[in-house]
Amino acid sequence: MNNSVIARAFPAFAIGFALFYAPAYSFTGGNSTFSWPLFTYFPSVGDYGEFHWLLVPGSDTLGPPMWWYGWIASATLVGLAFAIIAMLLPSKAVERILATLVWIVPILAFAFLANWERAWFNI
């Protein structure tokens, strides 16, 4: 890949990933209507755990669910989609915008997530 393509694809991937990951973490629950994680992992089932496609809530038989791997997988797909779209756009102007958004979006995602997680600290 040449520099011009990477200059758009890599930042766009990071932006797409963060834009999906932050709400995915925040809005996933056992009763969510939209399946943010691509799959759910149940670590207490058998010797190696068990994978189920999409969002599956925990239960007495399956044990606690882990959605983190599934969020990463979903966010990776969204990031790749962003990267492909960015590669189709005109290079110079998009490159400049992405070079700014690539650090602003993760900071905003951190702030969004930190605000969401205040509940753990009773603040």
């Binding site: 990477i6 890599f10 990951y21 932050a22 606690p64 900071i107 997680e117 753990w120």
Partner: protein, 151 residues
């Protein structure tokens, strides 16, 4: 096995802390000509040579952390919930989220350090994001291990 991986995870994190700290010092507080003391020597580095080691260490630490995460979910988190030590869970939740977002930013971090001399602000900002995340995750991991380790 989980304890071994946890120790390995901690050792990789320690090496990563060193690398990101050197790089951040080199970017935000570079050594001035004539300064020769210990701290100045820690600052007097070429930040770009740390990029690939930081990426390798970050990915290694991340993969090790992801591998032992199920043990945390089954054996560590439930007792913390029972004891209402919720801040410990909160610290870990922030850690996993920051780590995932920074992991996805690494290709861009590599590009802005290695393939272009444009966008110095972006380069500095990404360096700061990696630095803050690695330090936060290191401290949060230690606190959590002190609250309830695998053993």
């Amino acid at each position: 096995m989980a304890t071994f991986l946890l120790i390995l995870h901690g050792i990789c994190a320690l090496l990563l802390i060193g690398a990101v700290s050197h790089q951040a010092l080199g970017v935000f507080w570079p050594r001035r000509p004539g300064q020769t003391d210990f701290v100045a020597n820690a600052r007097g580095i070429r930040p770009q040579i740390y990029v690939v080691p930081i990426m390798i260490l970050f990915v290694t630490t991340f993969v090790l952390g992801a591998a032992i995460y199920p043990v945390y979910r089954v054996y560590v988190r439930p007792p913390l919930e029972d004891l209402r030590v919720l801040y410990g869970i909160g610290l870990f939740e922030i850690k996993e989220n920051f780590a995932a977002i920074v992991l996805a930013s690494l290709p861009a971090y590599w590009y802005f350090w290695k393939r272009t001399s444009d966008y110095p602000t972006t380069r500095a900002a990404l360096t700061a994001i990696v630095f803050v995340t690695v330090w936060y995750n290191f401290i949060a991991g230690h606190i959590l291990n002190n609250l309830r380790g695998f053993g």
